[in-house]
């Protein structure tokens, strides 16, 4: 590491020491996440302080230019910042679809006006965004979407329905895909539109899931008038923008969870409480083996996650130094696929290990198990992820 980067690391380390409240370095419990927005909920007053301090330095969107609310860091510096925050045990100051997904495409495809209007407010956590892609008739086959946007003067008039819009009931704005031209081939004729959910004609209805939770909504558009300047890219460029957004999401390993289960009680402890047996070998050999398989699968996943991160960092620094980059590491689609399948199996095993108590209607293990069934459906089903690996990585023909 060069002297400059080492100096940067020391500077970041002491900034974290001064700025991160001690309560923001404790492990997170369910519901401790901060998502921002006009109706932001802070589980602790320090969470607001931490977000404000992070945002003031531009650290919520570290690689964005300073003028748009970022910190203007290089990818290597951003990786150092991320590592220092992680090593110090800092809670994420802000979780944000705006930072992870929308911001990068506005930076790439947006107008200067759009950058000025949206980016800094995203970085400060003032506006919470949701994603409007799926429709009742457009799931895995997303390009068949039919929500219409018709240009009338300087406004689009939007009619149609989006579904699986995560937290649309808590979000302020939605970035969505709309049909701008039904006459051209379906991948063309799609626009990427930014919609203020406070607009007249927008109706949001939560969807109740088998888990009893409602993290998703249906969003209805009834003659909603959206200023034409809210279109990102050209009127028929929406699919390209959406693909770029997905690629960005896939390439940002940081948006994947590296330690999804660290806060959970170890499976063997749960098994011990439920199956009995003072010390020694767990009394049920089949459940014991399932616990071990799950633990070994998680270990393999976490090690692969680290390998992916290290390989990505090595590639980045090689590019920065003008060297030939190392070959790519395990692709993020592999991590996504394994991560969601692993989570599903662990949640299921927790219910199995807990036994009767997990049947209680309000038992959190049952709710988490039911919630986890969606892991391999949302954001690209397991089957779609397998298609992606087969096509893009293995080069198997269509």
């Amino acid at each position: 590491m060069t002297d400059d980067l080492e100096r940067f690391r020391r500077e970041i380390r002491s900034w974290i020491e001064e700025s991160c409240p001690p309560s923001m370095r404790l492990p997170m419990a369910e519901g401790d996440e901060v998502w921002g927005g006009r109706r932001a909920v802070f589980p602790h007053p320090d969470a607001r302080v931490w977000l404000e301090r992070m945002a003031l330095r531009g650290f919520t969107a570290p690689t964005w230019p300073k003028e748009y609310g970022g910190a203007g860091l290089s990818t290597v510096e951003a990786a150092i910042l991320e590592a220092e925050l992680r090593d110090a045990g800092c809670r994420p100051a802000l979780r944000s679809l705006g930072v992870w997904m929308l911001g990068p495409v506005i930076l790439r495809f947006g107008t200067e006006e759009q950058k000025r209007e949206h980016l800094a407010r995203i970085a400060r956590g003032e506006i919470r965004w949701c994603q409007g892609y799926s429709e009742p008739g457009a799931g895995s086959d997303l390009a068949s979407l039919g929500t219409r946007a018709v240009l009338e003067g300087d406004h689009y008039v939007v009619n149609g329905q989006k579904t699986w819009t995560s937290h649309a009931d808590e979000a302020d704005w939605m970035f969505c895909l709309v049909r701008t031209d039904p006459a051209v081939p379906r991948h063309e004729g799609i626009g990427f539109l930014l919609v203020d959910l406070a607009s007249p004609g927008v109706r949001v209805r939560p969807i109740k899931l088998i888990s009893g939770l409602s993290p998703f909504c249906e969003t209805f558009f009834d003659d909603v008038r959206v200023p034409a300047r809210n279109l990102v890219g050209a009127p028929n460029q929406g699919w390209t923008v959406a693909k770029a957004l997905l690629e960005h999401e896939r390439s940002s390993i940081g948006s994947l969870r590296s330690s999804a289960f660290s806060a959970e009680e170890p499976l063997q402890d749960l098994a011990r409480r439920s199956l009995g047996g003072e010390g020694g070998t767990l009394p049920d050999p089949i459940l014991r083996d399932r616990v071990t398989q799950a633990n070994l699968d998680e270990l393999a996943y976490q090690l692969t996650f680290r390998r992916a991160a290290e390989t990505a960092a090595a590639r980045k620094s090689a590019v920065t130094m003008g060297e030939t980059p190392k070959p790519p590491g395990p692709e993020s689609s592999v991590l996504k696929l394994c991560g969601m399948e692993l989570n599903k199996r662990r949640k299921e095993l927790r219910v199995v290990l807990a036994g009767f108590p997990a049947l209680a209607a309000e038992d959190p293990r049952a709710r988490e198990w039911l919630r986890s069934r969606a892991n391999s459906i949302e954001g690209g089903t397991t089957e779609i992820q397998l298609n992606i690996i087969a096509k893009r990585i293995l080069g198997l023909p269509d």
């Binding site: 063997q268 098994a271 011990r272 010390g279 070998t281 767990l282 014991r288 083996d289 616990v291 071990t292 398989q293 633990n295 070994l296 270990l299 393999a300 996943y301 090690l303 692969t304 680290r306 390998r307 290290e310 390989t311 960092a313 090595a314 190392k326 590491g329 395990p330 592999v334 696929l337 394994c338 089957e383 992820q385 397998l386 298609n387 690996i389 087969a390 096509k391 990585i393 293995l394 080069g395 198997l396 023909p397 269509d398």
Partner: protein, 379 residues
């Protein structure tokens, strides 16, 4: 960065790959098998491998080695696994050299290690006695005499046991079969009186032997490690050997996977490449995930050896359990996806299938290592 190769490691990997490609493609194994070679590997090839530094790669420079680590040895083993190279890397290097390096006296080391590094001395671990890996189920006895011990018992599946110059013998000096305590390791010349050996032909065409000891006399100076506490040494040796074997298995399973994906692209039925069928695509993608997960676990375990991490035994279990399941899955799928030719001897796929099964049983299969992982984790 344990998961990113250094330029030096890349060069070792490339050297190993080139050597394997030029000198020991899978046809090399076929030739040994079809000519009924009594050794099971090619001594000349082994000399060349030793000259390249592969035999002594982890041994210290004062004992003729390269002073490198398992991360580097793993790259060599992986390259060998890609073409099923039969060589003394497992028996002599992973098992024999580890036993002497970890448990030997300076005199042992001076005598044995440089000869291993030079490719001149072959070792074997005489350990197993039953129908499957059972680490402490040792019935072979080492009875105390006035000036040493007498070994009596029979060992099975002694890898390279039919050609080894020196045997590392696991025997019981006290206690009962199954006890972890009471085990002692001895360094015994294969030519010692009372040692008889009979080669076992294995399904993967590698060499092993049944070795009998009929009152074989050994000296106190031949003890490796501590009397009655040999299990500590045995575990340490087997942890290393298990991690090394998992590297070889990684090479094998990655090779079969690559060959199968290539086949899916060229084999045509119903007028299209069979790789266009989703039923096969999805299974291929699943296997790709398994290859990636196995690689991470194996690389981490190699690092655990080199950094002498306390969790090495756990990581060795993780690596062997995963490599075993992945190797068996991918070779079975490879046969199925190749269809009829997959079960012909002409195609190499069957050789990988056989190696996967033999590698599974060597040092314990997936279930053995999951059980050990759970035990070591306190459940």
């Amino acid at each position: 960065m344990a998961f990113v190769l250094t330029p030096e490691q890349e060069s070792i990997r490339d050297t190993a790959r080139r050597f394997v490609h030029e000198r020991t493609p899978v046809a090399h194994l076929r030739h040994l098998r079809d000519t009924g070679d009594p050794t099971g590997f090619d001594r000349e090839v082994w000399s060349e491998m030793a000259a390249l530094g592969f035999a002594g790669i982890t041994l210290p420079a004062e004992h003729g080695g390269a002073g490198l680590g398992y991360a580097e040895l793993g790259l060599v083993l992986e390259a060998c696994g890609r073409s099923l190279v039969p060589s003394p890397l497992v028996a002599t290097v992973l098992l024999g050299a580890s036993a002497v390096a970890l448990g030997g006296t300076l005199a042992h080391k001076d005598e044995v290690l440089p000869a291993i590094a030079g490719g001149e001395r072959l070792l074997a671990l005489a350990h197993e006695e039953g129908s499957r890996h059972a680490r402490y189920r040792i019935r072979t006895t080492a009875a105390r005499t006035t000036d040493g011990y007498r070994l009596s018992g029979e060992k099975v599946l002694v890898l390279d046991g039919h050609v080894a110059d020196t045997l590392v013998v696991v025997a019981r000096t006290s206690g009962a079969a199954g006890d972890r305590e009471g085990i002692t390791l001895f360094l015994v010349p294969a030519s010692a009186p009372g040692v008889s050996r009979e080669r076992t032909l294995l399904v993967d065409s590698r060499g092993a032997a049944r070795v009998r000891f009929d009152g074989t006399a050994v000296r106190c100076a031949d003890v490796l490690g501590e009397v009655d506490h040999g299990s500590d040494l045995l575990d340490a040796v087997l942890d290393r050997a298990t991690v090394g074997l998992a590297s070889e298995m990684l090479g094998g399973l990655a090779e079969v996977f690559d060959r199968t994906v290539d086949y899916l692209k060229v084999r045509r039925q119903f007028g299209v490449a069979i790789g266009s069928f989703q039923a096969l695509k999805h299974r291929a993608a699943q296997m790709f995930c398994e290859v990636e997960l196995t690689r991470s676990v194996v690389m981490d375990a190699l690092g655990a050896v080199d950094e002498a991490r306390a969790e090495l035994p756990l990581r060795a279990c993780a690596a062997k359990a995963r490599a075993t399941d992945a190797f068996l899955l991918i070779t079975a799928e490879a046969v199925q996806m190749h269809g009829g030719v997959g079960v012909t001897d002409e195609l190499d796929i069957g050789l990988f299938l056989k190696r996967a099964r033999a590698a599974e049983m060597t040092f314990g299969g997936a279930a053995y290592h999951r059980d050990r992982f759970a035990r070591l984790s306190g459940y």
